[in-house]
């Protein structure tokens, strides 16, 4: 079964969110998502400074099977995209919750990640989708 760290928040569209000590959040796609997509060959990350709304497509992941939008779980300002993915998209496959992060965002509301799924709820969602 998928690897689901307990300290992260999740979305039904298979993104994860990590709260960082400075109030910003790190975002990536889940182990389940990378596994379903297969080996990634291209990742487009958002530019820093961009304003995004929760639910907006803000990055693209492309594998040999499919290209998919990645949706921002929160509203806020993009602080950084993970530029390493330009040359090493495979980091998302290898370490979806680590080196394979996609972007860091400063949320416009600190409470916004509280409404996202926790690991148990996301696990339930995966089971219901299977």
């Amino acid at each position: 079964m998928s690897n689901l760290p307990g300290d992260l928040r999740y979305t039904k569209s298979h993104e994860w969110v990590r709260a960082l000590p400075d109030g910003s959040v790190e975002i990536g796609i889940t182990d389940h998502a990378q596994n379903a997509l297969g080996d990634l060959v291209f990742v487009e990350v958002p530019e820093s400074g961009r304003q995004v709304a929760a639910g907006d497509p803000f990055a693209v992941v492309e594998s040999v099977k499919a290209a998919s939008d990645v949706y921002s779980p929160v509203s806020g300002e993009v602080l950084a995209g993970n530029d390493a993915l330009a040359t090493q998209p495979e980091l998302v496959n290898q370490e979806p919750y680590g080196q394979g992060w996609i972007a860091r965002i400063r949320p416009s509301s600190a409470a916004s990640i509280e409404s996202l799924l926790d690991a148990a709820q996301y696990q339930e969602h995966l089971v219901s989708e299977a």
Binding site: A36, D39, V41, F42, V64, K65, A66, A67, S68
Partner: protein, 487 residues
């Protein structure tokens, strides 16, 4: 089978040549200072070497003339040789696209009649043949929707609704036309989620792009409700003609209330489309979009045919190509439609649906899972190999590769994205029952192998010129140029 055919440059030897390769001397017409000093780097081979090289390459290929080719959503039907023969008549081939209309009345008449036939079969009010491919047809369609709203001063409509089952080209087209894409989900039975549609329509809605039957291989049953909801919100309906084969002569998009449709003549009307083209994405429109059609369009005045251009359609979205689209492709489609006639077109729809449903029932009986078991297939259907992947570790891709060893081109794999481990299978109307039975037998044999010797399936293909390719590396490290060993 030969396992590797050298690149033709590897066969090249200095000075070897074929008379057929020698161009006529051009000294008389090209001034000296414009002539190249070095000969071009063309391969130097004999005529026989060239013939064998290309014949061998063609023999390594899977093609509709050699193999069953059930590539879902691509409508890989047989291309009758007669259509080719008529389109290759010297009078058509020799006609210059800039020749005056008066010298090409026969060609223009064919194109005028093609426009009329496409209007009749789709229920649309006007047709332009100029888009050069399906994607360009889609672009033309959404550009017309945009032009329509702008012409009315309705400038706030910047959203196109796209169901999640849509072809990937639909959101791409909307984005190309400067629109925002609003995706809506489908229900478990494959129909569009009407409640979700209600929540996204509004004064910002420019239109909806819909394929019916959808890419899930089922007919959208609530199409008239969709029409009413989008219409009430002031949006237009775009019909993606990718799956027109299923309804040809049976139901017309114009009667369903669509405002614009693109047709893939290279699918439904049987022009060749191996190797990526050339295609034709003719567009048809309802009355309110007629002024915006891409030009040129063929018109008839007092028994004479002529190209209508910007002077006749001042609100046109413009030109999509230097001339009038792919003339040779349009001619093939024209001959195909003339040969079929109205009754023949109905039979296309009936037999494509019959073949798909026959194949689906037989594959289900052989132990495969249909993705939408409660729905009748349109002209194509989806199997999901989720169970085989989970229980045996044998994926849709493994089945696809193994099918090559059995002499079948693989169905479409991993599309639509909604269905895990899927094969999208479209037999088309041109296959005989024996061919379909053979495919079922191959699928059943592979299923048996997956259960008893999964490694065999996972190692496939074994009989093709090259074995399983590393598609990740191929996507990341493109290597498309030949370099001589000496260089």
């Amino acid at each position: 089978m030969r396992t590797r055919e050298p690149v033709i440059f590897e066969l090249s030897r200095p000075g070897r040549t074929a008379a057929a390769q020698q161009p006529a001397p051009a000294e008389a017409v090209i001034p000296g200072h414009l002539r190249r000093r070095q000969p071009p780097m063309l391969p130097e081979v004999s005529e026989l070497q060239a013939v064998r090289h290309f014949t061998r390459l063609s023999q390594m290929n899977f093609s509709i003339d050699t193999h069953f080719y059930p590539l879902g959503s691509c409508t890989m039907k047989y291309n009758p040789k007669a259509c080719n023969a008529y389109a290759m008549l010297p009078e058509f081939l020799g006609r210059h696209p800039l020749a005056p209309d008066s010298t090409g009345q026969g060609f223009l008449e064919c194109m005028f009649e093609l426009q009329d036939m496409l209007k009749a079969v789709t229920g649309m009010k006007a047709v332009s043949l100029t888009p050069m491919a399906g994607a360009q047809g889609e672009f033309a369609g959404v550009a017309m929707i945009r032009a329509y709203h702008r012409a009315r001063g309705d400038l706030s409509r910047d959203e196109i609704i796209v169901p999640e089952a849509a072809h990937g080209t639909n959101p791409a087209t909307a984005t190309m036309c400067g629109m925002k894409v609003r995706e809506i989900p489908c229900r478990d039975d494959g129909d569009v989620d009407i409640e979700a549609l209600r929540t996204v329509v509004g004064p910002q809605t420019a239109g909806i792009m819909l394929t019916n039957p959808s890419t899930l291989g089922v007919f959208e049953r609530r199409i008239m409700d969709i029409k009413r909801i989008v219409d009430n919100a002031g949006g237009l309906l775009y019909y993606d003609g990718a799956n027109l084969n299923a309804i040809l002569g049976k139901v017309r998009p114009g009667d369903m209330g669509f405002d614009v449709i693109h047709m893939n003549l290279h699918k439904t009307f049987s022009t060749p489309h191996g190797g990526g083209g050339p295609g034709s994405g003719a567009v048809g429109v309802a009355e309110r979009l007629r002024p915006f059609l891409p030009v040129p369009v063929v018109g008839r005045e007092e028994g004479r045919y002529r190209w209508l251009d910007e002077r006749d359609l001042p609100q046109t979205i413009g030109r999509l190509s230097g001339f009038m689209g792919n003339a040779g492709v349009l001619l093939r489609a024209y001959v195909y439609m003339r040969v079929l006639g109205w009754e023949g077109m109905r039979r296309v729809a009936e037999y494509s649906a019959l073949n798909a449903n026959y194949l689906m029932s037989r594959l289900r009986a052989a132990g495969f899972d249909a993705a939408y078991p409660d729905r009748r297939a349109s002209h194509e259907f989806i199997l999901t190999l989720k169970r085989q992947a989970r229980e045996r570790g044998v994926t849709a891709m493994d089945f696809a590769k193994r099918l090559l060893d059995y002499g079948y081109h693989a169905p479409t794999t991993y599309f639509p994205l909604l269905v895990p481990e899927c094969l999208l299978i479209e037999p088309t109307e041109t296959e005989a029952k024996e061919e379909l039975d053979g495919f079922v037998a191959a699928m059943a044999a592979i299923k048996e192998e997956a259960e008893t010797d999964a490694a065999k399936v996972k190692g496939a293909p074994y009989t093709t010129p090259v074995r399983r390719l590393d598609d990740v590396r191929a996507a990341k490290q493109l290597d498309l140029t030949w370099k001589s060993a000496a260089a």
